[in-house]
Symmetry: C2
Subunit: 343 residues, 2 copies
């Protein structure tokens, strides 16, 4: 186990752990920063930290919330979050916006938009700018979720924009996946990445107020009709469509009741535990594959060969079978030679 | 390159290749059997064979057809296939039914049900009983598709039952993915695995004849309404819903026109090539991961450790991060020690 290292400014695993268990927000923030780091020594430290807090994780309700820019995610989450806090819950909100890798604009924006939440001691808001192009999942999101659980947050919200590869990964780490939609001329789902529709455990129509009300109710009818045709879910959960307004505070309580009802239903029929277990297993497989890839990246020659093979496969110069065999053989040899260098 | 091996009954790569390029159906069949084998020496031979025929692949139209048992897949494919042959096409049909691993029942059934096609020299029907629990994709399906292309088949149909993990894998190897549905009381999609809906490039309603006609037309209206709400496809293709009857031969021509229209549209806007390239890349990644797994399986100690870690991760005894790190480290060491044994 790595110990305190004053040079790098990291804390020791025990210092992180104690700070987190004491709900020290500054330490929690620093631990999430550590978990987001891709530096090898930070990854090892993160692994030790996660291992040490493992018994204190798993007790929150994990909610994924996605919707295209303009749907009103931040204002909805502000209303929803305040509702949860009024019901005595401590909540953590992790926002991921791959586009903010460039501008950092929406990250500052989030803080501003969730104005009351960001000042509430029962809420912890953490924007994340990082995103991994390979898996689509931001490095450290799952770790951040576990760290927040260990710090005593009872509901974790992971917010994404729903236009990329990210959501399959997020779906694979939350209990309830919510899709926010804006009523339009029958194209509520436009802009949303194909495949996200069938992931949703609940649809939330935003901005059901003023002139927009009748349009939102029509959208709800249409969506319910469409959902009725959908394949039945493994969880035997009936996906609801809830109309909400952050101006009139309509439907916010209903969304929370719906999430609770989902948790009760799936805990009773066993789906909740099955899903959590599958998510653990998927995390193991993903991490194993990521670590193999890191080993490839550690060897410049091997990484270059991988890039070349990828190109050749893309251009049909070599079959994927042959290319993968060559790469795996080189990979095995590289491990051996490395070992021989350090007897 | 491996050469003729009379002991195992395998042909040489060159013998397979020449037989396939000469459209020798017996050699093609034997090559597919080879590609389905998971024996290490057979895999190597398959890799060499695929590499040798690579320039002769890629020119067919690849169609995935899925639908639950009872929807009428075999009779539809028989009508559809005969229509294609009448238009001068040579077609290959690869059917995968994981359930037939147990009984082999439906495999014999397929041969009987596709009675006219199975006797037609322009058609090649190949049932496959094998399925890999890990990836969900039958071992050798992609290879079988490429072998059929090299043998001159211009349309490859891959048929599956749509109730399992298999379809994401199949979607990732075909150009057009077709979902067959039976009109019911608004639950046409029941039985279909969640997530398959949004994969479809076209819906086909079967058995639009006799008393069933009005029900099928209502189902079509409902489906079109639902699809209208769907996210727009990356290919900018408008997903059609076609009603068909194999008794009256209604809609069969329309299905083929629709597939052709899709090919033209996506070839014109570039999506066709982009999708094919992504599929090549995914094949590379999948194969790499499979070969890494095979290396783990080759080491009983390592395989046992993987199983134990998987259990511990499932039961929250260890974090996925730590478990994966331990496994990757053991994996690297095992490669090294093996090398040291054979200097």
């Amino acid at each position: 186990m790595q110990t305190h290292n004053p040079v790098s400014g990291r804390l020791s695993v025990e210092e992180y752990r104690q700070g987190i268990l004491a709900a020290n927000r500054r330490v929690l923030g620093r631990a999430i920063t550590l978990a987001e780091s891709t530096l090898p020594q930070d990854r090892l430290l993160t692994e030790d930290l996660i291992e040490s807090i493992l018994p204190q994780t798993g007790r929150s309700i994990r909610i994924g919330i996605t919707g295209v820019p303009g749907v009103g995610k931040s204002t909805f989450i502000e209303s929803f979050g305040n509702h949860l806090i009024q019901h005595g819950k401590k909540i953590a909100i992790l926002t991921i916006d791959p586009s903010s890798q460039r501008t950092y604009g929406s990250i500052l924006g989030d803080k501003t938009r969730m104005e009351t939440l960001s000042k509430n001691s029962q809420a912890f808001i953490r924007p994340s700018a990082s995103g991994d192009a390979f898996t689509g999942v931001a490095t450290g999101t799952r770790e951040a979720m576990l760290l927040c659980e260990a710090a005593g947050f009872e509901i974790i919200i992971i917010e994404t924009v729903g236009i990329g590869q990210l959501e399959a990964g997020i779906r694979n780490m939350v209990d309830f996946f919510m899709l926010l939609l804006l009523a339009g001329a029958g194209d509520e789902l436009q802009g949303i990445k194909k495949g996200i529709l069938e992931m949703a455990d609940g649809f939330v129509l935003t901005k059901a107020d003023g002139d927009n009300i009748s349009r939102v109710h029509q959208a709800r009818t249409d969506l319910l009709h469409a959902i009725h045709l959908f394949p039945s879910s493994e969880s035997s959960w009936k996906v609801p469509v809830i109309t909400t307004s952050t101006i009139t505070q309509t439907g916010i309580a209903e969304v929370w009741e719906s999430v609770q009802s989902y948790i009760q239903t799936t805990q009773a029929n066993g789906h909740f535990d099955v899903q959590r277990q599958r998510q653990q297993q998927a995390w193991f497989t993903e991490t194993f594959q990521r670590l193999i890839q890191e080993k490839i990246n550690d060897e410049p020659g091997l990484q270059q060969q991988q890039t070349e093979m990828f190109q050749k496969v893309s251009n049909q110069k070599v079959s994927a079978l042959k290319a993968a065999r060559l790469l795996v053989n080189e990979f095995s040899l590289s491990g051996s030679s490395k070992k021989n260098e350090q007897p």
